[in-house]
Every structure is written in structure tokens, then in C-alpha cells.
């Protein structure tokens, strides 16, 4: 403890210089925390927006279903997987897909029919809440359809309208059914906007004569576990012909965007840490240069080079603890403010913002968590101590005689 006290006194020998360094490191730490929290918020929001509507943390498909969306490539034992998910506390929604034609009046268009279990969709996902008009499917099959916004527009279909579905059924026959438009979705990504015609699973079965085939089971754990854990939990129930994949595998573009953001952040952080490190190194160099004679005397009376190295690094560490504590207080306060009062990006543009199929939230909210605070603080400690090693080594290796004669 004594050496901490000595370090404390030493760093205030030149109070002004130390204060300047402390302020610089404090601000650097605060800026890093705010930046990390904002980027974390942005990334989380992006992933959340991309996954919360329909994708989820992970999905199960027949192994080549995603390459060839054939109605015959269905999952072998959907019930087993659903049970495994339920046991693990993971929300799951089974879905069937097939292509067909829809027409309303004189207008017709190609559509991807989704056979969903409305009750499961409502608990596992949030698409059902994103209604532009009307409402989502009722839990019981009732000949209702929910349309993507652009599809509805091209059909000139409004809530309450009747549409005709004409499809090729699984048995080769022609399926033909009348549906009532119960709701139209908000913009939710190109694929859904242009193509989705969402109907009850039972209606899907009778339209496509598909015999209960399930093509996709979407799993959502709502941050209770990582996507990888979700996959691990259901994997035992997934037969060999099927695969469980995380959103990262399902949306590699988004995953690499998130990774790129992390990389950009790492570079940004590196530059900041470098600047802070050089500042601390400069301060410690000046501070040790002024004390050369002192180190000479200490070495002469028997202090080991290690002792001197340790004492100087301790000074840098104490300085970094003061600075990072202040920086953490300021940074966390600012980040919490931005968590409660998100930046409104809609002032920069109008309407919905979407990018490569992902809809962005116009409110940019910071997310403060352990990582966004602890990482910059601890890395700053390490940087400060590393930065002090150069001056500390110089002092530790001084020749005592020359140091004592130094004025």
C-alpha cells in the first residue's frame, strides 16, 4: 500500500502536467465508452430488427431447402424439434412455403405463400405487430390472408378485399381458393413487401395438399441465450437431412456488416488508445527525466531495477485508474442519456430506412453494458502501464554513478 501512496505523491509533483494528462485520458475513455455504446446500440438494433420480425436467432431447414425451395424438401420431424425448443424455453414457429399466383379483380401477381401457425408467430416473432392496416391472422384457420405492403399495392387489394389463389399443389393438382385480406404489413424488407401472402397452416395444407409439411422452424430466444446456444439446444432433435443455422449463417451479409462495424470500431479504438498511450508515455518520460538523480540514489542504496520499474509503472497505473474512473463516470452518464434519449436520425431523411433488406430504426439508441464500459477501461489501464514501460525501463537501467552526477 505504501508504494501506492508514494506513486500518488509522485504523480502530483508536477500537478499541471499530470492534470493535463488525466484530462486527456479521461476524455479519451469517455469518448470510447460513448462510441462503443452507440455502436453497440446500433449493431444490436440492426440485428434485432433483422431477426425479431421473422428470422429469429436460428432456423431449421431441410439441408438444401435454401438452395432449392421445393415444397417436397420439408423437415423430417418438426414435432420433435418444436418439443426440444419448448423444453429449452425457446420460442419456435413452424412455417410452410410455396409459390403461387394471387389475383384481385383484374390484377394478379406471383406470391410466396407462408403457411404459419398464428399463435406461435405472435409469441415467437413481432411481424404480427407490424400491421400497416387491418390485423394479423386469427389463431384459427378462417380463410384469411395477410399481404406484404407492395404486393397489396400491386394487387390494389385493401383490407376486406377478396383475393383468389391459384397454385400447383403437392400432388400435382391445381389448387384454387378464395381468401379474405385481413391485414397489410408495414414495410418489412423487400422479400416480404413484394411477395408474402401469409395464411394459416391449415389453409395452406388444404390449398397445397401438403400433408402438414414444414419447411422452416424459426427459433427465437429473445436474448436469453446466444444464437449458438439455441442451435446447440435443438440440434439433438434435428435429423441428419436437416440443418440448424444461426442468423449469422442465414444472413451472412448482415453478419459481415456487424463484423465490419466491430473491425472499424477496433481501428477507431486503436487510434484513440495509441494517442492516449503516447500522451502518457510523454508525461512519464518527462517525469522520470526530472528524477534521474533520485533513481541513481535509490539504485545506489540497493533498490533493484525491478523495484524502480514497478514504482514508475505504478504511477502510470494510478494515473490511469484516476482517469478511467472519471472517464467511465462521464462516458456512462453520456451513454445512459443516449440510451434514454436516442438520437433521432429521421431528421436526416424521411420515411422508413432500409438497407439490404434490413429496416433501420430511425432512433439511434446507445446500449450500455459491461463490455462497452469494462473493455475501454481495462484496455486503457493496460495501455497506460505499457506506455510507462519505456521510461520505466530507461530509469531502471540507469547507471547509478552517472545518474547521481546528473543535475
Amino acid at each position: 500500500m505504501t508504494f501506492l501512496l508514494h506513486a500518488w505523491r509522485n504523480i502530483w509533483r508536477n500537478g499541471k502536467r499530470t492534470a493535463i494528462t488525466v484530462v486527456a485520458v479521461t476524455l479519451t475513455t469517455a469518448v470510447l465508452i460513448v462510441t462503443l455504446s452507440l455502436m453497440r446500440g446500433f449493431g444490436d438494433d440492426m440485428v434485432h430488427n433483422a431477426t425479431r420480425l421473422v428470422v429469429g436467432d436460428a432456423q431449421v431447414h431441410e439441408a438444401d431447402y435454401r438452395l432449392d425451395r421445393s415444397i417436397y424438401k420439408s423437415i423430417a420431424n418438426p414435432d420433435g424439434i418444436l418439443q426440444a425448443a419448448q423444453k429449452a424455453g425457446i420460442d419456435a414457429a413452424p412455417r410452410s412455403f410455396s409459390f403461387g399466383l394471387v389475383s384481385s379483380g383484374h390484377k394478379s401477381a406471383g406470391a410466396m405463400f407462408w403457411g404459419v401457425s398464428p399463435a406461435a408467430e405472435k409469441t415467437a416473432f413481432e411481424l404480427a405487430k407490424e400491421m400497416f392496416e387491418g390485423s394479423y391472422l386469427s389463431d384459427q384457420a378462417a380463410g384469411q390472408v395477410v399481404l406484404g405492403r407492395k404486393l397489396a399495392k400491386s394487387l390494389h387489394a385493401q383490407v376486406g378485399a377478396e383475393i383468389v389463389a391459384v397454385v400447383q399443389a403437392a400432388d400435382g393438382s391445381l389448387g384454387n381458393e378464395l381468401f379474405q385480406v385481413i391485414g397489410i404489413l408495414k414495410l418489412a424488407g423487400e422479400e416480404i413487401d413484394r411477395g408474402a401472402a401469409i395464411i394459416h397452416r391449415q389453409d395452406f395444407d388444404s390449398l397445397f395438399v401438403s400433408g402438414g409439411r414444414v419447411h422452416e422452424i424459426a427459433l427465437n430466444a429473445w436474448d436469453r441465450m446466444s444464437p449458438e446456444q439455441v442451435v446447440a439446444k435443438v440440434s439433438p432433435a434435428v435429423s441428419e437431412a436437416s440443418v440448424a443455422q444461426t442468423w449469422r449463417e442465414l444472413m451472412p451479409q448482415l453478419a459481415s456488416m456487424v463484423d465490419m462495424m466491430d473491425a472499424a470500431l477496433a481501428i477507431f479504438g486503436f487510434i484513440f488508445f495509441l494517442a492516449a498511450g503516447l500522451g502518457v508515455m510523454n508525461t512519464m518520460l518527462m517525469a522520470t527525466y526530472e528524477r534521474i538523480r533520485e533513481f541513481g540514489i535509490l539504485k545506489a542504496i540497493g533498490a533493484s531495477p525491478w523495484r524502480i520499474l514497478r514504482d514508475i509503472s505504478t504511477e502510470a497505473f494510478v494515473m490511469s485508474v484516476i482517469s478511467t474512473s472519471l472517464g467511465a463516470i462521464i462516458g456512462v452518464a453520456a451513454s445512459l442519456y443516449l440510451e434514454a434519449h436516442p438520437i433521432d436520425l429521421s431528421v436526416f431523411g424521411s420515411g422508413d430506412m432500409s438497407f439490404s433488406g434490413v429496416v433501420f430504426n430511425p432512433l439511434w439508441r446507445a446500449t450500455v453494458d459491461q463490455q462497452t464500459v469494462v473493455v475501454p477501461v481495462v484496455v486503457m489501464w493496460i495501455v497506460c502501464v505499457l506506455a510507462s514501460l519505456y521510461p520505466a525501463t530507461k530509469a531502471a537501467r540507469l547507471d547509478p554513478i552517472r545518474a547521481i552526477n546528473h543535475v
Binding site: 540514489i297 539504485k299 545506489a300 542504496i301 540497493g302 533498490a303 547509478p400 554513478i401
Partner: protein, 235 residues
């Protein structure tokens, strides 16, 4: 009587080629345990160099040095550092003290380096500061002490760990003569009461006269060596 310092044919040359300075030229010297010896000579005669050979802070160009029967000239860096920590106390001419440490902490420093327990340190250092006349000034920082008081702290630090030998390089050169006399009184007292061996350099006649053994140094050689009375008689 036991020998604490022994030097055999010690030479030290500084520089190389045409500009070699022969700081020491074949010095043979023995200092007995418990002695109070003054190394006297004009500036540049090699006093500091000689002290540095003994403490192992510098290496002789030739010759051997022993301290307390251990050969300093055969030691590695770590062993020398340990020798200085455990067997030798130092007093320098001036600015001996660490400015951020109080008188107490400065005096305590060597004991702390040695790993002596805090309680034992406290007892020793408080006793010692009282003995060097600084009772009540323990909490003062060096800048709050006079030059003479600072040297007293330095002396306390040098003998705190009860070293076999105290080396003092012109300890009174930076203080007035009254203070010098008082510091000398203190060193004599510590030499007698604590059986601390002192070897100090000086070019102050008053200090030389107070020594029990006087080594007169000239051009890197011992010119005369004896008690002040003997040297006086030889004149």
C-alpha cells in the same frame, strides 16, 4: 581487529587513448571494523572513485576489493546490489533524500527494501530519528528541513539497517562549518554507540581532525595513512 574493507592494487583509468585519466593508481588499503576513517585530498584526487570501487558502483581497471570478506570485484550485478542494500549505508554530498518521502519514510526506505516488518521498522526508525536529533520532524518533507537536518536524515537512512560499513562522500561539503561540526558529532556518536564503521571523504581540515584515521590522497595514490596525530608528527 577485523578488517571490513580491503583493497589490493586497485587502479582505475577513465577514458581511452591519449586522454586516459588515472583516477586511482595501485591503491592498497585496509579499514578495520569500527573505524572512523577520513579520506582526504584535493578535489579530483580520486576520493569518490575510491568509494565507488568499495560499493561496487564502479569497477576497478585492475586490482581487487573486499567488503566484509566478500570479494566485490568478483560479484555480479545483483550480488553488488544486494551488498549495497544489506551491508553498506550511503550518505552523499547533497540532495540525498527522495523529495516525496517524509523524513520518516526516507529513513525507513532501506528497511522497506529489505522487507523488514512495518512494526519493527517503525520502532527502529523512530529511535534513530530521535538519536539524530529529529524527534518531532518525522512527518516533514525534505523541503521543509534545513540542509543540516536533511543530512541527518540521510545519515539515519544510512545506518538504519545496521550496515557493516557507512560510506559518506563529502557529507559536510554543502553545509556551514557549525552544521558540519554538529554532523560530525553525530557520526562520532553513532560510530561509538552503534559500532558503525564510517569511511568518509572530505577536504575540510576540521573534519579530518575529528577522524580516528586519516588517509591522505594525492593524484590517485595514498600519500599518507595514520592517525591524525601521527600524520601531524610526520609533517
Amino acid at each position: 581487529m577485523k578488517t571490513i574493507v580491503k583493497m589490493e592494487n586497485v587502479s582505475k583509468d577513465y577514458g581511452q587513448g591519449d586522454v586516459v585519466v588515472h583516477a586511482l593508481r595501485g591503491v592498497n588499503l585496509e579499514i578495520a571494523k569500527g573505524d572512523f576513517a577520513a579520506l582526504a585530498g584535493p578535489s579530483g584526487s580520486g576520493k569518490t572513485t575510491l568509494l565507488n570501487m568499495i560499493s561496487g558502483l564502479d569497477k576497478p581497471s585492475a586490482g581487487k576489493v573486499w567488503v566484509d570478506e566478500a570479494e566485490v570485484t568478483a560479484m555480479g550485478r545483483t550480488a553488488k546490489s544486494r551488498l549495497r542494500l544489506n551491508r553498506i549505508g550511503f550518505v552523499f554530498q547533497a540532495y540525498n533524500l527522495i523529495p516525496v518521502l517524509t523524513a520518516y519514510e526516507n529513513a525507513e526506505y532501506v528497511l522497506m527494501l529489505q522487507g523488514v516488518a512495518a512494526k519493527e521498522r517503525k520502532q527502529k526508525v523512530m529511535d534513530l530519528l530521535k538519536q539524530v536529533g529529529l524527534a518531532g520532524m518525522e512527518k516533514r518533507f525534505p523541503r521543509e528541513l534545513s540542509g543540516g537536518q536533511q543530512q541527518r536524515v540521510a545519515i539515519a537512512r544510512a545506518i538504519a539497517a545496521e550496515p557493516a560499513l557507512v560510506l559518506a562522500d563529502e557529507p559536510t561539503a554543502n553545509v556551514d562549518s557549525a552544521t558540519a561540526a554538529a554532523l560530525l558529532d553525530l557520526m562520532v556518536q553513532l560510530n561509538e554507540e552503534r559500532q558503525a564503521t564510517f569511511l568518509f571523504s572530505t577536504h575540510d581540515q576540521n573534519v579530518m581532525d575529528r577522524s580516528r584515521r586519516l588517509i591522505l590522497f594525492k593524484d590517485g595514490r595514498i600519500d599518507q595513512n595514520g592517525t591524525p596525530a601521527e600524520l601531524q608528527a610526520n609533517k
